[in-house]
């Protein structure tokens, strides 16, 4: 049972934050693109705003790695 649950948990730990990141970026992307059309000087802010939600996916990945390592996978 554990052999099945550990990888599943690790997969959920990375996939749910990744989906959340994707959703957040899908909302930020069009909004910041519209802003850039009017104010190109916001390009640095644009990069940052799009990169900020990636933290969720990255930390999800770290947690997944920890789950696998703690379980001896």
């Amino acid at each position: 049972m554990e052999a099945f649950l550990v990888p599943l948990t690790a997969a959920l730990a990375v996939s749910i934050p990744a989906l959340a990141t994707g959703w957040a970026q899908s909302r930020i992307g069009p909004a910041i693109s519209a802003s850039l059309a009017e104010k190109p000087e916001l390009s640095t802010t644009a990069i940052l705003l799009v990169a900020i939600p990636e933290t969720m996916a990255i930390l999800g990945f770290v947690v997944a790695v920890l789950i696998m390592l703690r379980a001896g996978g």
């Binding site: 640095t44 940052l48 900020i52 990255i58 930390l59 770290v62």
Partner: protein, 625 residues
Amino acid sequence: MILPMIRARILGPREDLDAVIGAVQDVGLLQLSEVHPSGALRPVEPDARDAREARHLRALLRDVDVLAARFAPSPSPSKAPAPAAFATWLRQFRRVRRDVERLEAKRRALEEERTETARLLEFIRAFRGLLPSGGGTRTHGYHLVLRGQDASVVARLREGLAQAIGNEFVLETAPLSSGELAAVLLVPPTDAPRVERLLAQAGVHELPMPAGSGGKTLGQLGPGLAARRDALDAELATLERERAALSAEVGANLGGARAAAEDRLLGLAAREKAAATSRSFVLEGWIPAAGFPRLTQTIADRFGPRVVVESVAREDWQGESAPVVLTNPRLFRPFETITRMVPLPAYGTIDPTPFVAVFFPMFFGLILGDIGYGLVLAIMALWLRHGGAPGSTRRAVAEVLGAAAAFSVAFGIVFGEFFGDLGLRWFGMRPLLLDREHSLLSFLALAVAIGAVHIILGLALGVYNASRGHPRQAVGKGASLVMVLLIIVVLLAALEVLPRGFMTPAVVGLLVLFPVLILAEGIIAPIEFLSTLSNILSYARIMALGTASVMMAVVANELAGSIGSVLVGVLFALLFHLVNFALGIFAPTIHGLRLHYVEFFGKFHSPGGQAYRPFSHWRPSGSAG
């Protein structure tokens, strides 16, 4: 660092104002600022003469723009010529502009006629012998031009004609060089009205006859049209010679005229920054401390004791309003590009460029961490640097990439990676200190430790910034800094890296500092402190991205051996490495920038600095200096 500035004040008799402005412009170091009126001191308003001169100069620049777009102007001189010729230039450019616009209108008309004539001649050549001579009334002829050379157009026309008038017609076609289809249609005169209706319905137009053809047929016009085409060629050549003469007349003056006019307009605008009484004037502005003696000397040399230059005491001006000039050693200078991507730091605070120059390529190297990818990046950086002018953004980006490539190679040696595990497979290369592929926890610990160092450094810089004018804030930031250090001690003691005995004093220290933090920075401080801790965890991305990078490279190498055909396997592997390399440039750049702008700068950066724009002679945009 941020260059120290001096607020300079220049005082002198009012009649010397224009000459002093000229001298300041020659020095080119003073950024003029408004002088606050007080007592009899009033801003210098532009008089009617100045307004008229500015109007004429702007008209002159409009004419220069129009002419420069048509002729190849001479390059603008490095120093504007004397403006004595403004009136002459204005008259000359206005006349030449009128002449050139007249020539262009005439040339457009002649070229249009030349195109039509050439088409008619081509038509005549294509249907020589078929064209109606006009002598008889046995047939009625139409000269048609069909869009496109699709044969189905002709078939449809032929079918329509057969239905309308039977088979009593002749339709011949030939392709034209313009891509259209020329057609001659001969029908009995009695069928002409029905044919014309049909052609109108189908949207087929007859070839327009030249003006003044006097009812002659196309066949009769042939020799006259050939002569007219030759005459048009001659007229066009004459127009081109006239245009070249106009270009030669003004082309050499355009660059100089623009420089002089722009320069004079800058002088007029500078005059409005001054304040004056009925007898004297005051000019104020910012100048780098190192340039102040040069300004003083120049004014003293030209005006003697009549005009005085003094520095305003530091207490009398607010540091925040001074312009900011970043100045860094040659090695760090390219990284100013990264600092300038966010608002400049306020005057009197810390320039983060040296820290960016150390940490940005380090983060990049930790994430990419591969000798092979690092070398490819170095080649790209060299190519980019080769094409960039000194001081250009391209050159700066190339040098930043060069540093990132050097760190990537260095960490590649540490991690023992050459295009993933290819180094191990080919040369038996082993990691020097850390195997990223297998020691994930060690890599995570390293990433978070580097994050802790980066954030602690940011907090220390924040304490330094706040200590100059905001002591309460400095105490709050200092408390945060010590608390972060104490939490690290507690964690290390819990993990038995440090002796257990460290834990109790560290926890007591945290309990003592917590109220200090709230007293110094308010009730929101604990939340900000928690966000500081999460900022440290954010550096885990270095490990996550680095691991993803090495795993992708390993998968690429395994692909080469796992596909039946060696050639296809190698191609797949190359493609995979290419994708990984593209991600390997993009991800470290974006996340390196983010770690700096969000996590690091957030601890100390005080934006609000204004760029330094000294009052100097006009230079074409894009020119150095």
